[in-house]
Structure formats: structure tokens, C-alpha cells
Point group: D2
Chain length 136, copies 4
């Protein structure tokens, strides 16, 4: 499980005065990037060395409270499933200062090559991912 703190940027707000719902998915991707780095396979290298991509094939989430400009949002990211050509991550975004859950969600990813065709995860990555205790 990775926990990353992200400060809300001004253009992430909309005229309702709160963060627009799309930006949580950008923050969740930041969480995913940091989780991958933490377990020793930075996503940058996955793309460049292994020629693999993890495009999002499904996502879903619930919004429970509003984030505001300059809030520090704490994103918890877990890898909850992987195997064959699929991966699943789950997320929780909290505002620690107000002790509030802001949003929860998941993303599912294919594993593909540069040609956008399914590929299996190489053994080297499987072992790094398996070390991530949260995987069921």
C-alpha cells in the first residue's frame, strides 16, 4: 500500500468552488505511479525497458466530500489483483486535516505491448508485484 500526499492546484477547482470530479483520477494515477516506484518497478521503466503499457480498461468511484483549493489530499493506493493480462488498483483519497474521506475508486488495466495487443506480465514484474502484500 502506498500513501502519497498531493496539494490541490487552483485550476483543479471549478466554478462550484470545489475540485472537479475528473482530477481525482489524475491523483489516483499519481498514487499508482508512486506504488509502482515503491515496489521497484517504476512505470516509466515498464514502458521504456519492457515495452509494456497498462491502459485503463474500466474504472469506478464514489465521491463523499469535496476537496478545495490548497487542501493536502492523501491518496492511498493498493494493488488488489493481477494475473495474466490484467491488473486492478484501489484508491482512497482523504483530507487528513478535516479527517474526511473525499473519494474512493478502482481502476482495471490491460497489459499490452506497443502494438496495443495483450501481453502477459514478465516474470520479473510478477515477482515484484507479488511482493506487494496487499494483492489478494
Amino acid at each position: 500500500m502506498n500513501r502519497t500526499r498531493i496539494r490541490v492546484r487552483y485550476p483543479e477547482t471549478d466554478r462550484m468552488g470545489i475540485v472537479h470530479h475528473t482530477h481525482y483520477w489524475v491523483w489516483f494515477e499519481v498514487g499508482r505511479t508512486e506504488l509502482m516506484r515503491e515496489i521497484g518497478c517504476p512505470y516509466d521503466r515498464v514502458e521504456e525497458r519492457h515495452g509494456l503499457y497498462f491502459p485503463v480498461i474500466a474504472l469506478g468511484g464514489r465521491y463523499r466530500a469535496s476537496a478545495r483549493y490548497d487542501d493536502v489530499v492523501s491518496v492511498a493506493t493498493q494493488l488488489t489483483a493481477f494475473g495474466g493480462p490484467r491488473m486492478r488498483f484501489e484508491y482512497e483519497a482523504r483530507c487528513d486535516e478535516r479527517d474526511e474521506v473525499l473519494a474512493t475508486g478502482f481502476t482495471e488495466h490491460a497489459v499490452t505491448g506497443r502494438d496495443h495487443r495483450p501481453r502477459r506480465l514478465p516474470r520479473e514484474l510478477v515477482e515484484l508485484l507479488r511482493g506487494e502484500g496487499d494483492v489478494k
Copy 2:
């Protein structure tokens, strides 16, 4: 049901060469805006005249094929449920040129006042929404 065409903008692509998954939710919001305009209650006016907001409280979707720079994406938007302080919209994004479904999804919305507290839809809006034949 509203159908709106949107041309993919360059910064909506990412280094995978395809549209980043977040932008579909912006396009779906464009579809929602056009549906509301079509049934006679532009969302702009909902906020300004009625003092109502429809914040997203849940969403989910599947990605089936990739949109690319300069593609024309056709977004079909339906209002599929409303009542009390809730609304649900469903979406399909297609690339007509390649005869492909790109993504499908839904959003659920609260109905709130400026104070972010739940409000019922006023009768005037309920009648306009009811006229939208797709509501179950």
C-alpha cells in the same frame, strides 16, 4: 437522448499516443450540458436561476477502443433516472468513422443548493426532465 460530436484536442492525448482516460468524463459532461439544453433547462440557468448544483457522487465506465488526436467522437447521453435529490445519466462515446464504441459510462448526481445540502428538484425541472422519453 442527445448526440453531440466532439473533436479530439491535441493535449487530450498522452504519450501512449491515445486519449487519456480522464478526458472521456469531460466529454460526457459536454453531453450532459447539451442534453439539458435540448430539454429546455440549460445547466447554466439551473445554477444561476434555481441556485441548484448537480455534483457527481458516483461514476463508472469501460474503455473498449482508443480515441486518437483529431478523431470526431460522437457522445450519446441519456437521462436514465431521476427523483428526489438524485439523477443518473448514461453515456456512449463512439468513433463513427471507424464504427467503434470507444467507451461507455454512467454518472450519478446529487441535487444540492449553494450550501451543498440536498434539495428536491423543483416541479418546473421535473416536468422538463419527465418529457425526456428515455427516463425509466
Copy 3:
């Protein structure tokens, strides 16, 4: 000179209630895309057939009035200089409904190959661009 109409999207607003200054540069890029299409060399094809890129190397602009959610913004785009490995475009964004200039600006572009090194514009493109009467 190309004129393109763009409707302001909700997430383009910020908590000041107006469009955030970054989005004008996305609209100006839409104008550039439409100008290139109009003169017969869609930018998509420039990248894919000619292997050329026009990365932005400088930009500047002034903001005169605020655009708001759901406004229709009219973007006028001119190619004002090209030659060797450089191009310059100038832009004006107006709100016709309020008869207001919203913003003006320019972008300067390099012409590079896939390797990010400078390239000259091929004769075929130069002739199409020269046909664009606004070039000084």
C-alpha cells in the same frame, strides 16, 4: 485566417467562476488545427505522413475580459510568419454575444523531425502555407 467556435466546458472554469487562463492556449491550438485543415494540410497528417512536429517554443498573450461557462468563444487564427524551421501564429478569442475581446496571443513553433532536431518545411507544405493570404 480561420475562425472556429468553441463552447466553454464546465471544468475549464475555476473557483473564481471564470475560465482559467491556461485553457485559452488549448483553444488557440484548436484554432491552429482548424487553420491547418482549412489550407489542406491537417496537422495529423503533417505528423504522420511527413514525420514533422511543430512544438511551441514561445508564446505570449493578454487577457482582456473573462469567459464563462457555456459561453461560445470565437477564435480567429492567422499564420503570420513562416520560413526555414520556424512558424508564428496569432490569435484573438472573442465572445460574440457580449461583443468582447477576451484574449489575444501568439505562439512560435519550431519545425522538427521525430528526433526533435530542426527540419525545413517541405516544399509541398510551404506552398500550401503561402496560399494562406495572411502570411506576411
Copy 4:
């Protein structure tokens, strides 16, 4: 002078494989936010306590090298002028790892009230800003 480090997010890249030029202005705004916090007047509080806004009225910049996904970008921000209803900030974005200047730029801001009309900076803010040694 404030220096803030920002890691490049995946959707900030475009299909050229590098960061799209618009995102530098978001990073520069992050730099501005951190500078204001550092000198003791967080922008959040400027808006909420003083009812003041600093909308961008002009900007300009040059792009010298490309930022890439997962790069750490170091943004240096200076307040270079203020007085009456105007402020000017200057920025430099560097990639320390490659010892490269990525981009330089400036923004000019009006000082307005909630009604979008010009306001003078209150004495309390002027003194905090004057303490910022970089102001000419």
C-alpha cells in the same frame, strides 16, 4: 524567491511524448502559491479573508527543452514587481537531473475584488510582499 519541486504526471504528456506546453503555466501557478505561502500570505487566505483575486492579465514564456513523464521539475518563482493594482512574477523551470532549463516565463496580475473591479493591495499584504527581497 521560492523553489518548488513538481513531478511530471502522465496526463501532462501528449502524443509527442513530452509535456504539453500548457502545463508549465499550471506549475508556475503552483510556484506562485508556494511563494505566497512562504512570505506569510497564502493565496487561499488572500481570497477568503481579504476578498481579493489576482487574475492573470498577461503572460509570456519560452520553451528551451522538453520535460518528460516522471521528471522532477524544479520551479523557481520570483515576485519582480508590485504596486497599485498590479503584480508581476517570473519563473524558471529546470530539470536538475539533466541540468537543463526547460522553460522561463512571466505572469502579470491585476488585483481585484469579488466584483472583478480593481482594488489596491491592503497595507498588510504590501508589507509582506516588500519583505520578499527579489522585488525591484
